[in-house]
Structure formats: structure tokens, C-alpha cells
């Protein structure tokens, strides 16, 4: 998967899981204030991302620092790069 495909996939699964209008899924969108997600949604975000991308998400500093959709894209891309040794 290219980086663009991965980002599209992240947006797709989150839009599906949380019933978010895809037009609102911009990189600067804040999960809480712009997308209306809460702490319970954060639990399910881990579940759907792990199921989708097959890597383990632990509550590292990098994960805790995620505030925007763009932050999440970067986090997932970095984890995939680590996993593939890149």
C-alpha cells in the first residue's frame, strides 16, 4: 500500500466506524472538537486500527500525543514503517 492508500484506508475505516461525513476528515481535524469523538471512541479506534493494519498499538507517548487526524495518519505510517524495518 502506498502512503496515500494507507491514509485513505484510515479515513475510510474511521468514517465507517464512527459515522463521520468523509468531507470532515481533513488532516487538521481535531478528534474531539471537530469530529465529535470521545474517550470511548478512542477505545474503539485502537480496535479498528489494529484489526485493519495488524499491528499492536500501545499507549506510548507518540500515541498519547495524537490530537488530529493528521497526527494519526503520521502515527500509523511510522508504525508500518517500523514493522517493515524501513
Amino acid at each position: 500500500m502506498t502512503e496515500i492508500e494507507i491514509v485513505d484506508r484510515i479515513n475510510f475505516v474511521l468514517a465507517e466506524e464512527f459515522e463521520i461525513d468523509p468531507d470532515r476528515m481533513t488532516p487538521t481535524a481535531l478528534f474531539k472538537d471537530d469530529l465529535g469523538l470521545d474517550s470511548l471512541d478512542a477505545v474503539d479506534m485502537v480496535v479498528v486500527l489494529e484489526q485493519e493494519f495488524k499491528f499492536k498499538i500501545t499507549k506510548t507517548e507518540a500515541y498519547q500525543a495524537i490530537r488530529t487526524l493528521g497526527d494519526l495518519h503520521a502515527f500509523v505510517l511510522a508504525r508500518r514503517a517500523e514493522a517493515s524495518g524501513g
Binding site: 459515522e19 470511548l40 471512541d41 477505545v43 474503539d44 485502537v46
Partner: protein, 407 residues
């Protein structure tokens, strides 16, 4: 209590094995049509009885979003659908419920499948973080009221009563008490019951279920001499109870009134009902309603089609109505035993009968059990509506609920 307010029924919602709409359900009740089927999976799993009530499909409902659905087991979804139907019927908008005077009381005594599911997911995925956010809310018996509170924004009473098969009856009774005493102006109440084999396997193991597999629709036969056990069933029933003066002032349709609620417990056996518990509750309820037993023209019996239970209820009814012979029928002859839901659904079914001017039969009654001799159990629908009604519900542990309704 210095003043008792009168309490009106202004909305009804049902998710029943007899159907989804009041019209459909009323027709089934009038015709004595059964909602019981054979579930072959139960036989394969080692159940003694594969019989169960069959609910309509749980299609998505546009009024309930995906996020809300995550925290709802099926029975809470059914309760939410029934509740929203009842709300629409009563003519109150959801904004009318967002205040301290509006509450929720439901009856429910299990959320077995959700508990089983979360364990399976943990074993499959290996970390609790991957169970998902909804499991904890789905696996509580109070799932119905916690979800409805979030969905509707009510700000008054919000709790679930667990008292086995009298849960729904006590829920309606307590809702009545809360309004009658002036503590709430309106309460959305009812009962919900999961329908899945996981929640029923232990009960099946008691040998309490009917094994009349060749005639599923005739398996539930309360008060019949040839009855051989109950048929597990479920769904959800919701009722809007409202202070009568407020309901009248806003021009609401009054389906009927709840006029009395009596409760008692047996203090005897954990599963065998006593010969006087329901009668003691009934006497209290009738007295509170300002009536005498002779005024009651219909008893909507708890009778589940078990040998011991029906005989005990017959003894209770005979002693309570020693000088009169009200019509008696058990709706469970058609629905099967809706368990936690049944005490509330009986109220909804009675309101439909009153509205459609008939009294539902005790289906499948061919030969009255000797223990019920003297009871006026009606094997065919009566072409007259019930007027002054007693609704019985009894649960494991010997907990009894009796409601008096007037139409």
C-alpha cells in the same frame, strides 16, 4: 402520602413475537395466533427443548445511531425501538422528557449473551483493550435504562428492577407509584428480555420447558391438563405512564389507567410459587384501586404453562376471587413466556385489547386442569373489552407483582 395522583397510560410500544405494530399484535391476540417456533440449533447443542419465541428481524432503526447501538445488546435495542414507538404514540416530543420530572424504570434480569461475548472476544484477541467500548454497557442488566437515558435525555428516575419473571410487573408498578406519589410526572417503563440460547441453557436444564416439538404453536398451554412446560420467549414492551391531569390538559389519548399495584413475596421455595403470594399482592392492588374483587372482569394471568406454577396461580386466583368468576387467560399461550418482560407486556397487550374491544383467549386450552377447576379460563376470545383488569406476574424466589388497570 397526602394526595394520590391518578395515572394514565398514554403510549404503548412493543417488540413482540406477535409482531411489531399494535394492529398486527392485536390481530394475533384476537385470533390466538402463536409466535413460537423450533430452533434446531438448540437441539444440536443438547437442549431438552428447541422451542422458543421468534422475534421480528432486528433491522436498523434510523432513530438509533451506530454509536448508540454499540452500547445496546439486542434486547436494549428492542426496548429502545419500543420506547420510541411509545413516545411517538403519546404525542410527547423527546424534548418534553429532558427534565427532572421525567423518568425511566424498566424490568430486566440478565444480559447473558453480552457477558459471554466479551469473554469470547478477550480469548480470541488476547487483550482487554481489544474488547471494544460497548461491552461493559451491554453486559449490565441495567443496559436498557442507561441507554434510554442517554438516548432521550431524561433527568429523573433511571434504574432497572431485577426480580426474575416479575421484573416487568414491578417496573410498571414502581413507575405508577412514582407518579401517584407526585415524585415524577411521567415515566417511560416496561420490560425487556433477551432471546438467545446462551441465556436459556441453564433454565432448559431444569426440565421446565415444553418438549411438544411436533406442535410448536400448541406447546404453550397454560391451565391445560396436558401442559408440559413453558416456552422461553422475549422482546420488549414499553409504556408511557403519565399523571392523568397533565395528560388530559395536553389533550393526550388516554388508553387506560393504572389504578393499583400490590407486591408480596413468598418466603418459601426458590422456584415453586406459594399458594397465597399472588393473592396477597392482588388484594392490596385491588384495595388501592378502590375496587373489590367482584369488580374485576378479567385476570391477565401470569400462568406460564408449567405444572406447578399454573396450579399455584389457580389456587391464588380462586382464593382472591372466591365469590366471583372473572374471565381468565394467559397471553403466554401465544407469546410463550416473555420472562423479565412479561409483567409489562401484559399491560400493553391488555391496553390493545381494550382499544380493539375484545378479550384475548387462553389459546391451546383443550381440557382444563383439575387444579384450575372453578376458574373461568376463556379458550376463545371474548367480543368485549376488559374493563377492570388484574395483571399477575410472579418470579423465581417468590416475588409477586399485581397491577390493577381500568379501561
Amino acid at each position: 402520602m397526602t394526595h394520590a395522583y391518578e395515572v394514565a397510560i398514554t403510549g404503548i410500544g412493543l417488540f413482540s413475537v406477535l409482531g411489531r405494530t399494535p394492529e398486527h399484535i392485536a390481530k394475533a391476540l384476537r385470533l390466538g395466533r402463536s409466535g413460537i417456533v423450533v430452533d434446531p440449533e438448540r437441539s444440536a447443542l443438547g437442549f431438552a427443548s428447541p422451542l422458543t419465541g421468534l422475534l421480528p428481524p432486528s433491522l436498523d432503526d434510523p432513530r438509533i445511531g451506530r454509536k448508540q447501538r454499540k452500547t445496546m445488546p439486542d434486547f436494549a435495542f428492542h426496548a429502545a425501538v419500543a420506547a420510541l414507538d411509545a413516545l411517538e404514540m403519546c404525542g410527547l416530543d423527546t424534548s418534553d422528557w429532558r427534565n427532572d420530572e421525567s423518568g425511566l424504570v424498566f424490568g430486566c434480569d440478565s444480559s447473558c449473551l453480552a457477558a459471554v461475548d466479551q469473554v469470547s472476544v478477550l480469548q480470541e484477541r488476547g487483550r482487554t483493550e481489544l474488547i471494544g467500548s460497548g461491552a461493559v454497557f451491554r453486559s449490565m442488566t441495567s443496559s436498557v435504562t442507561m441507554n434510554l437515558n442517554t438516548l432521550l435525555g431524561t433527568r429523573g428516575a433511571c434504574w432497572t428492577i431485577s426480580s426474575a419473571c416479575s421484573s416487568g410487573g414491578h417496573a410498571v408498578g414502581q413507575a405508577f407509584d412514582l407518579i401517584s406519589s407526585g415524585r415524577q410526572e411521567r415515566v417511560l417503563c416496561g420490560g425487556a428480555q433477551e432471546v438467545n440460547w446462551q441465556s436459556m441453557c441453564g433454565f432448559d436444564g431444569l426440565g421446565a420447558f415444553s418438549c411438544r416439538v411436533d406442535e410448536p404453536t400448541r406447546a404453550s398451554r397454560p391451565f391445560d391438563k396436558e401442559r408440559d412446560g413453558l416456552v422461553p420467549s422475549g422482546g420488549a414492551a414499553a409504556l408511557v405512564l403519565e399523571r392523568l391531569d397533565i395528560a388530559k390538559a395536553r389533550g393526550a389519548r388516554i388508553w387506560g389507567r393504572v389504578c393499583g399495584y400490590g407486591f408480596s413475596s413468598d418466603g418459601e421455595h426458590i422456584s415453586v410459587p406459594s399458594v397465597n403470594g399472588l393473592a396477597r399482592a392482588g388484594a392490596k392492588a385491588i384495595r388501592q384501586a378502590g375496587l373489590t374483587p367482584a369488580d374485576i372482569d378479567y385476570v391477565c394471568a401470569h400462568a406460564t404453562s408449567t405444572s406447578a406454577g399454573d396450579a399455584a396461580e389457580a389456587a391464588n386466583i380462586l382464593s382472591l376471587f372466591s365469590g366471583s368468576r372473572p374471565a381468565v387467560s394467559s397471553i403466554k399461550s401465544m407469546t410463550g413466556h416473555e420472562l423479565w418482560m412479561s409483567g409489562a407486556s401484559q399491560v400493553a397487550y391488555c391496553a390493545l385489547m381494550a382499544s380493539e374491544c375484545f378479550t384475548a383467549p387462553n389459546a391451546n386450552l383443550e381440557n382444563l386442569d383439575p387444579a384450575a377447576q372453578g376458574l373461568n379460563v376463556i379458550s376463545e376470545a371474548l367480543g368485549r373489552p376488559p374493563r377492570n383488569v388484574v395483571c399477575n406476574a410472579a418470579g423465581f424466589g417468590g416475588t409477586n407483582s399485581c397491577l390493577v388497570l381500568r379501561f
